[in-house]
Amino acid sequence: MSLLTVEGVWKNYHHHSVLRGIDLEVAPHEVVCLIGASGSGKSTLLRCVNLLESIDDGAIYLDGSEITDVRIDPDDVRKRIGMVFQSYNLFPHMTVLDNVTLAPRKVHKVRPEQAEAEARELLARFGLADKAGEYPDRLSGGQQQRVAIVRSLATQPRLLLLDEVTSALDPTLVTEVLSVIRELKDAGMTMIIATHEMSFARDIADAVCFLEGGVLLEHGSPEQIFTAPEHPRTRGFLQRVLDAGRL
């Protein structure tokens, strides 16, 4: 059974449709990369999946139950989904350790000592052991984004959503974040990744989805999408990426 099912999802903003009937299935341990130009709806789709945005039509199911049902508590859904943002969104007034332990302590009611021990273990796993006491503005962009990933992992989510997590980073810092994501894939994490890093998508994805104008135009294996795209628009997009020297 699939872990996440997106069924005919529409999202409108002021008479303008950002998502136009999206269908998507994500199996457990699968890594799905969403590609497409800025404004194609990748970020909006991720925000709809963890209910930061309400949808205007369709339904989303997590573990077989509908999460877009208005009668359920969105916080119960978000407890099972982690999200990492393009601009890190760390809490600037808290240390790295407090950023990571906040949700386990306050939402999942983990004892503070246990939350701290688990957080330190995760930070150490991603090479951030010595940064636990630092404030976010003392860290590099790559370190901040790794902390944001650790923060989203600390609640042991079933599904991780990554929204262009390397777009705000200096090219030399991209690799350290991508290698963290690769490690998560090896550990079996189910992920949906909106990305502009085509070579990374090709390398890590089990499936690649091409979005344009709020429509999921093509969904296939990375080999198929990147070497033999069926849709002319997918070909056009990849050609532009290639021309820009980004593939």
């Binding site: 930061l52 969104n89 600037p92 503005d137």
Partner: protein, 339 residues
């Protein structure tokens, strides 16, 4: 990177051994200049990695151009200092001469600046001022609580809270619109007139209620602007971690907002310190009331100057602290910090 880049003396031993016997002397030898250019790219590469090693400063000797530039800057600074001093002296002289040479000055001096009257009134005014301080110390925390609660109520989005939200909006609109002195009259004479059982009748308490409700409305708006200044992405991050609205406010939004509104809050408190004198209209013997009693006995206004002085003694340090905190916040924002 190697340790050599960090220590200033190290990079040039091979050059120096060939060029000169004394590597420490920079004048005329090509050694330091050549090593500076060859080390340049390596040093900047090390810095861009984000490591804590700054490029070595010791290799830099000021060029003649920079020495000339600094001399020009010093000359200009000296000139502006002398202009400022001269203009200050001129303005002060004109003011002092203008005031003291006016025909009524001897009378003004006697009526407002009489040393004997000052000495006479000061103990009573000072005793009254302690009541002002007490009113301030009681009102301030209450104002903070009222302001924060009202601001938080206004952030609630659920339709269930519509009545609460409406009350909060109504409160801030009405109470910001009514002059504080009017509110103090209203509560000071209105509440006792109701003759309710258990309602306070002490004028100080009633005055404090008036001040708290008036200032609470201002402070609520200050808090609200602080809350709205926290970027929505902070809220999105907190909600994505499954924190509830309340938890998001408590742990993420309000702590950041509170830091940002400290300077405007202190500004409101400077204003509150002097507005404690408005409670005088209800009759308690605070500084202004004491001063007017003295003035009424002697037809001399020096006691008012005495009251003005004690208020200034409290508000000026507070105003300086506000400026200091505002400057610190600005510096942090310039430095790219978030707080």
């Amino acid at each position: 990177m190697t340790g050599g880049e960090a220590s200033p003396g190290a990079p040039t031993p091979s050059d120096d051994s060939a060029a000169s016997v004394a590597p420490e002397v920079p004048t005329g030898s090509d050694g330091p200049v050549a090593s500076a250019t060859s080390e340049g790219p390596a040093a900047s590469a090390a810095a861009s990695e984000g490591s804590a090693v700054p490029p070595a400063l010791a290799e830099w000797t000021k060029s003649d151009r920079q020495i000339r530039r600094e001399a020009d800057l010093r000359r200009r600074a000296r000139r502006s200092t002398s202009v400022a001093t001269a203009s200050t002296i001129v303005v002060a002289t004109v003011l002092i001469v203008g005031v003291t040479a006016s025909p009524g000055w001897p009378r003004v001096q006697e009526t407002f600046f009489s040393p004997s009257q000052f000495v006479d009134a000061f103990p009573d005014v000072w005793r009254g001022f302690l009541l002002n301080v007490k009113i301030f110390l009681i009102a301030e925390p209450l104002i903070l609580i009222v302001g924060l609660v009202v601001a938080l109520v206004r952030t609630l989005r659920s339709p269930v809270f519509f009545p609460l939200r409406a009350v909060a909006v109504f409160y801030t609109d009405i109470f910001r619109g009514i002059p504080t002195i009017l509110l103090i009259y209203l509560f000071g004479f209105g509440i006792p007139a109701l003759a309710l059982q258990g309602a306070p009748s002490d004028p100080v308490t009633l005055g404090i209620i008036g001040l708290v409700l008036s200032y609470g409305a201002y402070v609520a708006e200050v808090f609200r602007s602080g809350i709205e200044s926290v970027h929505p992405s902070q809220r999105a991050a907190a909600r994505s971690l499954a924190l509830s609205h309340g938890q998001t406010m408590r742990y993420v939004v309000v702590p950041q907002a509170a830091r940002r509104v400290i300077p405007p809050l202190l500004n409101d408190f400077v204003s509150l310190q002097k507005d404690t004198a408005l409670v005088a209209v209800l009759g308690p013997l605070e500084a202004l009331r004491q001063a007017s009693i003295h003035a009424a006995e002697t037809f001399n206004y020096t006691p008012y100057m005495c009251a003005a002085l004690v208020f200034i003694a409290l508000t000026v340090p507070m105003a300086r602290l506000t400026d200091h905190l505002a400057a610190r916040t600005a510096r942090r924002q310039m430095a790219g910090g978030h707080l």
